[in-house]
Amino acid sequence: MEKLSNKEKMKIPRQKMPEQEPLIRNMNFSEVNLGFTPELAQQEALRCLECKTQNCIEGCPVRVQIRDFISLVAVGDFLGAARKIKEDNLLPAICGRVCPQEEQCEVVCVTGKKGDPVAIGRLERFVADYERVNVGFVKPELKPRNGRKVAIIGSGPAGLSCAGDLIQMGYEVTVFEALHELGGVLIYGIPEFRLPKEIVKYEIDNLAKLGVEFITNAVIGRTDTIDELFEDGYDAVFAATGAGLPYFMNIPGENLIGVYSANEFLTRINLMKAYRFPDYDSPMIDVKGKNVAVIGGGNTAMDAVRTAKRLGAINAYIIYRRSEKEMPARIEEIHHAKEEGIEFRLLENPIEFIGDEFGWLKQAKIQKMELGEPDSSGRRRPVPIKGSEYLLDIDLVVIAVGNGSNPLISQTTPDLQVNKWGNIIADEKGATSKEGVFAGGDIVTGGATVILAMGAGRSAANAIDEYIKKKFEIPTEAAN
């Protein structure tokens, strides 16, 4: 194939992601994005200028060799591209779907300076799906076992990426999961229509095939403590328990029936499959033809409100106290939500929930806001407008204003330092105040993204490797 000039490359438009039609998909739970065809993928890959200085790698928390995998896609070597990605990222089918590429690799893409950046995320997803569908699991090289054991607490993105790296380095790895199913937020939090659970299960099965041991129904802090894990023979522990304590708003009426945390609402639907009640036993309040409001402007809020629409809500609102510009959600999620008929009530904030005599939510008292001076986050502070309150009919409300840290581990591990929000204090490699204990992901940073958690898992794997080799005087070569 003849090489295109940069000028010709720049002329190719960014390829659009095929999607389900908005008014069809808002009635089903199947994936919204349908994925590139091989033709679309190759066409998109041709847009990459193959820069010498690879800004895109710098933008990626796990440093995927983006230029090199895209070059392989451009020539049609999709499996080679998959192998190239997996040198740095074991879970591309997940990252290709849920990473905020527009803030990471794509924002620094040189093609994007004059036009649209290369659709790196869509290509990553295509390559991972292509390999899964056409070849299945390809076992990577594993180093010989070194006889050292690592316990990982939590099977979310941080735990899985750490497990994947350590198993390849030669460790025996056990992942402890509190719930009955593996995957953490990938399973209970992110809905099927954005990340099919089958893909998460496939990736976890592959880690199991590499030898990672998974134990469900194990609540560390209750079933075992961290100290007991050491007594059981683990040489190091990685705490990746996520941000699992929902914040409420502390306003009147919050304990009415119909007021949910985003965690509960999404867990009932995604993990417990309440949308398939009564085939599955866990119920959800029927919202068909009802009014649902989701409070918050992040990705979790978008997931919740789009879920509510799919459950049949006649009106599904986002209520957010700032303007759209300040919303932390990905642009794509906001765009998809709007297409699906979600109504955005911006610069508004509930100050009270009102119920009937049976304790059921009926209305919310909403206060209008305006933007004032920037606050510590750099975003303009929302200021209430006096006398602007009005009543909005609502049958179900989902509070999606963020999560704190679950205290079960810190309560039972007194020598593990936490900050005032209960987040475990760890250095940039994941080392904590307690010897042999590392931490990463949302339990350290507070609620963030899947890929940042995966990056933390990777850093911790390297730090754990270094720690164990030093402690047990394992020569680096012998471990290889």
Binding site: R222, T223, E254, N263, M272, I285, G359, P407
Partner: protein, 295 residues
Amino acid sequence: MFKIIHAEFLAPDIKLFQIHSPKIAKKRKAGQFVIIRVDEHGERIPLTIADSDAVKGTVTIIVQGIGKTTKQLNEKNTGEFISDIVGPLGKPSEIENYGNVVVIGGGVGTAIAYPTAVALKKAGNHVISIIGARNKELVILEKEMDETSNEVFVTTDDGSYGMHGFVTDKLTQLINEGRKIDFVLAIGPIPMMKRVSEVTKPHGIKTVVSLNPIMVDGTGMCGGCRATVDDKTVFVCVDGPEFDAHKVDFENLTLRNRAYLTQEKSSLEKFIANHEEAFKSGSIEECKIEHGPRY
């Protein structure tokens, strides 16, 4: 999958299970609970641990078949399996030597109160137990309670056994007789716990109840089990399940527990219909049901 090492009916619709789960058996303390899931399509339900055997590695739960999940569980027999059991969850009971304590168990709540009665006795308390049930057939753990208590009283709603009346009638009687009571633990249906709380409050008797809200994960992640205690919101799964009865908002708890009544009803009806079908076609044998679930 977790094996049921032993299962037996204690009373109609009330079944005892010993489930193999060595870690929970070793760790659990009085007042803690487990969450179980019967099968792959099952919901997660909390059940307080009634007893455990660290040597056999079993956890004992006592289940009253009320809704779909508990009825389905009560059809399980020795040697069969459940999908999941996780725990021990929640804070253990606060055990002290209070002096004279009254432990009240209403219905299957007796099973929940039992381990704490054992712990209170061990701590040196004079333990008076009151077991309440609708009728004689439904009285459970009388022998066990007797072994761990200094005095045991039984009340039945219909008078078929023990004192005719409610547990609160017996409690009021003890108070009126001038018995010195330093601490009351009351576990059972919400109206019973509320009534006990009303009886002890004017006398300033410290009273603890174990709350039973709807839960999902049981680890503090979802907030579905929140209750109002002392005008503040608590997560029963991690802050409880035991609380100062005089500070609990029982109304709110009652209302919140009704959130899924419609769905619970339809789920149970479907289960019963399917069950009858299976029964007719012979895929379920009658002998398996012992004197258990009756529809």
